[in-house]
């Protein structure tokens, strides 16, 4: 068969010229609108105690449906009741697509929500979304994950330091392995900035072992659902189970799958999981899971919603816009599995004090 370029060129050239010509046609000759951000008129004498939250309508928007965000719904409802906020909604319909999340946020704004706590789908794109919302005068908090890079366009970020949490998990695994052996890292979407940070955290812990611990494999892209994670872990155990002495899982589904696989295969590998799914906690009690690193989603939603209400009512401003605050991560072992939530609640209470004293400026 002979292909003449004649058949390809017309279409390519037409569309290329059309598209290229179009880029020269983005114009603005209309007068610039006034900046949407209203100046902060501070209430006086109230400090960080919310005086009147009735005007605050807060939307908590995760990147999509995920068990990690379940506590956000109840925490948001609790804060609404406690501080008598106008409304608090939890909307998980973004389906892990940044474009859909952007659309959802603008829809929520049209529905009258005026403050946003967001877990951005794409850490590299979410600053654009934050800037858009801020330009329309809405206070914005980055909850559960901070934007990639050194800039944060949100008012503040309240999140687990994912690199530190992964480092803690890997250190716990190495300690459980007796300081030597072969480690495997199970994690989420490879092309996600947070995954890259987790990979860095684990690599740092392995490096610090001085060559006594080797990282056999980093398995990515298995946090889509439990079935995918189970299959990947089962394949891994079948192929290399004998060589693995430690497993660190820094994503939810792989953590549950690793706990199941070690229990069913009778492997001696030490598993360090993430989050506090019932299966993982049960594994810790039974000894099949050595430890888990739990995060603080309740604190993120509670403190995030409260601080957003203070910002929305102009009662407070953020001293250092874009400040990143660690919401805490805790290593849970058999020793503290019964009472780790007390430490988490204490961290949440401390966060509130830190916000009032350090991060917010209230009249």
């Amino acid at each position: 068969m002979h292909f003449a370029t004649r058949s390809v060129l017309p279409g390519v050239l037409t569309a290329a010229l059309l598209a290229t010509g179009a880029t020269a046609c983005t114009y603005r000759n209309a007068p610039l609108p006034a900046a949407g951000q209203a100046s902060a008129a501070r209430h006086t004498g109230a400090g960080a105690e919310l005086v009147d939250g009735a005007g605050a309508r807060v939307a908590l928007v995760p990147g999509g449906a995920h068990p990690y965000f379940r506590p956000w719904r109840t925490a948001g409802a609790t804060v609404q009741k406690t501080y008598k906020l106008g409304a608090v909604t939890f909307d998980e319909t973004a389906e892990w697509d940044q474009q859909k999340q952007n659309n959802l946020l603008s829809t929520l704004a049209a529905r009258g929500y005026n403050a946003f706590g967001i877990f951005g789908v794409s850490p590299t794109d979410i600053n654009t979304t934050f800037a858009d919302l801020k330009s329309q005068g809405f206070p914005v908090a980055s909850l559960g994950s901070c934007p990639a890079g050194s800039t944060d366009e949100a008012d503040f970020c309240l999140s687990t330091n994912v690199e530190l949490a992964a480092y803690k998990a890997a250190k716990a695994a190495i300690t459980a392995m007796g300081g030597k052996g072969t480690l495997v890292h199970l994690t989420g979407n490879n092309v996600d900035a947070n995954t890259q940070l987790r990979i860095k955290g684990v690599a740092r812990a392995v490096r610090e072992s001085g060559g006594k611990v080797g990282l056999l494999q980093t398995v990515t892209d298995i946090d889509t659902d439990l079935g995918t994670a189970q299959k990947a872990v089962s394949d891994l155990m079948a192929a290399k189970g004998g060589r693995i002495t430690g497993i660190v899982a820094t994503a939810y589904n792989p953590a549950v799958a690793a706990a199941d696989a070690v229990r069913s295969s009778g492997s001696k590998a030490k598993v360090i999981a993430i989050d506090d799914d019932a299966k993982i906690l049960s594994g810790i009690r039974q000894g099949t899971v050595t430890a888990t690193v739990v995060q603080n989603p309740v604190g993120q939603a509670e403190i995030g919603t409260w601080a957003l209400a203070l910002l929305q009512t102009k009662q407070c401003t953020v001293r250092d816009p874009g400040v990143e605050v660690d919401s805490g991560s805790f290593v849970v072992t058999r020793a503290n599995v019964a009472d780790y939530d007390t430490a988490r609640q204490a961290r949440t209470a401390r966060l509130k004090t830190e916000f009032a004293d350090t991060y917010l400026s209230c009249g």
Partner: protein, 354 residues
């Protein structure tokens, strides 16, 4: 490849039947009426639906991007093929634009050209493989999808820290946020609901409308899709037409990838992850046949707009995740059923009148 025994009929051609179908049978008209009716319904239920800046602007920006995705699929469908790698080709094209901006510091137009060229090349390779090997487009584009998934991920991992090219060339922010309200003729300004990004969609639609409606190559593409054996016997170089269709499909997918990146902020590996389903949905709802030979450029826009309007309306009504997709599926089924009922009723009328 499925063949069709009926002669191809494009949007530009009227039915050749002796008894013409009534005007209200026209599928595009039906879709337009449905889109408007749903818009009015949602506007009545939630007046915020008509908020130009907060609702209509992002809705139309989304529709503009997804229409280009659906056009990319439509071009492949026109020759009776499909392009399962449409999302990954978008990511591939966007990756080249990202490299151009981040590493080569190209201006926006040059990066876009690089993106389109990369999309066209990968589309041409796909088309060449299909035409040369005689393999099924399903298998070849699926294989291409997997290959590009690995290639794009590896490239981003190797060249970036955060799996994204974050350099934004001058002008790209304007492309994302400007609407026709930024264009004024004296005291009269355009609508803030219409994004300037939609210019790409309009130009792509015009280009494809001319290609399929007014050129010999366009008609040959459709005949290749309707009946490749007959097309071959008629002297049409079907292999070249398949190559052209996939080249155009790759180019349009890359354009959609660029638009998606411009719309969200950065050039990242996950661009196009969710493109495959909307690409079929928009094209098929709009009247393009999966078996090839019939396309509808305007219908593709309307089909995509229908899905967008339904989703946005349900979002505004506060429908939760559990119910949203059920409602979306039900309304789409109703839309398709209404179209089928309209066709059957009109056909009976025509039969009765003869």
């Amino acid at each position: 490849m499925t063949t069709s025994v009926s002669p191809p009929r494009t949007t530009a051609e009227a039915p050749a039947a002796g008894h013409r179908m009534p005007f209200w049978v026209n599928q595009r008209l039906g879709l337009l009426v449905l889109v408007i009716a749903l818009g009015v319904l949602f506007g009545v239920l939630r007046p915020a639906f008509l908020d130009q800046r907060l609702v209509l602007f992002p809705l139309l920006r989304d529709v503009a991007t997804l229409t280009v995705v659906a056009l990319a699929q439509m071009v492949a469908l026109s020759v009776g093929h499909m392009n399962l790698a449409v999302g990954r080709m978008a990511a591939f094209g966007a990756m080249f634009a990202g490299v151009g901006y981040d590493k080569l510091h190209l201006p926006m137009q040059a990066g876009l050209l690089l993106c389109l060229a990369a999309g066209a090349v990968i589309g041409a390779v796909t088309g060449w493989l299909i035409a040369r090997t005689g393999g099924s487009s399903f298998v070849v584009t699926l294989a291409m999808d997997f290959a590009l998934l690995g290639l794009v991920s590896l490239t981003y991992s190797a060249l970036t820290e955060d799996a994204a090219f974050t350099t934004r060339p001058a002008g790209i922010d304007a492309l994302r946020s400007y609407s026709l309200a930024d264009l004024c003729l004296g005291p009269v300004c355009g609508s803030p609901a219409i994004p300037q990004l939609a210019q790409f969609t309009v130009l792509a639609m015009l280009g494809l409308g001319v290609l399929y409606g007014c050129t010999r190559i366009g008609r040959e593409l459709l005949l290749t899709g309707a009946n490749p054996a007959a097309a071959e016997l008629s002297g049409i170089p079907t292999g070249r037409r398949v190559l052209l269709a996939h080249t155009l499909s790759g180019l349009l997918a890359a354009l959609a990838g660029f638009m998606a990146a411009a719309g969200t902020g950065t050039f990242r590996a996950s661009i196009g992850d969710d493109f495959m389903l909307p690409s079929f949905l928009g094209a098929v709802l709009g009247g393009t046949l999966l078996t090839g030979g019939v396309v509808s450029v305007l219908g593709t826009l309307l089909g995509t707009a229908l899905v967008g309007v339904i989703r946005k309306g349900l979002d505004l009504l506060g429908v939760g995740l559990e119910s949203l997709n059920i409602y979306l599926g039900c309304i789409l089924l109703l839309a398709l059923s209404a179209d089928r009922i309209r066709t059957v009723v009109s056909y009976r009328k025509v039969v009765r009148s003869t």
